[in-house]
């Protein structure tokens, strides 16, 4: 997975935080360069049912709220995009994360990667979501009928 940054220089990368509904088509379309043939898009969305990893307890979520340390989150997202260009032969990357209140089923995050070869797009997209979930200063609160809980991720 060698980089070839000279040829596949980022031209349409973007990282965004938004309180508006995310349309995944429009995210995917913005990373498309005319010489590429494929984008791979990860679409994360608010689950109705969550299972506590420690206790195994299953709860039904009414809605979610996402909060970010916004300037730091955007910087981390930019760092991830730069690191993805170093590691993978990709053309463009778009990352959009939703903030605020989300209804069940609404998209929380979209990551689209365009690349001359599919394989690099898949690998980069998978790497980016893993790293974003590990380092992006963004937090999720699950709101239930009888309470709410800020979810704690894996520590980095």
């Amino acid at each position: 997975m060698l980089t070839n940054a000279g040829i596949y220089q980022a031209t349409n990368d973007f990282v965004e935080l938004t309180s508006l509904v995310i349309d995944i088509t429009s995210v995917a379309r913005r990373v498309m360069p005319p010489q590429c043939g494929a984008t791979v898009t990860l679409d994360g969305y608010a689950r109705q049912v969550t299972r506590n990893k420690e206790t195994g307890e299953v709860r039904e979520t009414e809605y979610l709220e996402y909060e970010a340390y916004e300037p730091m989150a955007l910087k981390e997202m930019e760092k991830l995009v730069a690191a993805a260009h170093d590691q993978f032969e990709i053309s463009n990357v778009g990352i959009v994360h939703r903030l605020g209140k989300l209804a069940i089923g609404e998209t929380s995050v979209v990551i689209s990667v365009a690349a001359p070869h599919r394989k690099a797009a898949f690998a980069a997209c998978e790497w980016l979501i893993r790293e974003l979930k590990r380092t992006g200063p963004i937090w999720k609160k699950e709101v239930y009928a009888d309470g709410e809980k800020w979810i704690e991720g894996e520590s980095i």
Partner: protein, 79 residues
């Protein structure tokens, strides 16, 4: 000096505020700040806390300077 610390998510909920101020000496490290904040808010002591300095993750030994932008938050859960 007085350090202002931004809080997010669970840390803000426990403190009941989006930022707190703590009195620190010179040569205060990132780890010492985390300890002080956990003492003041016992609800945070069971959490995996991160400190960021100027929007970068601290590793622990950094010395806090005047005007550093500090934030304390739990392990992230976005995505």
């Amino acid at each position: 000096m007085v350090a202002q610390i931004l809080l997010f998510g669970a840390t803000a909920a426990i403190a009941g505020s989006r930022s707190i101020e703590i009195e620190i000496g010179t040569e205060t490290t990132a780890n010492l700040i985390l300890e002080k904040v956990s003492e003041r808010f016992p609800g945070m002591s069971s959490l995996k806390l991160n400190l960021s300095i100027n929007q970068q993750y601290a590793t622990g030994d950094e010395i806090i300077c005047d005007n550093d932008e500090l934030a304390i938050f739990t392990a992230v859960s976005g995505g």
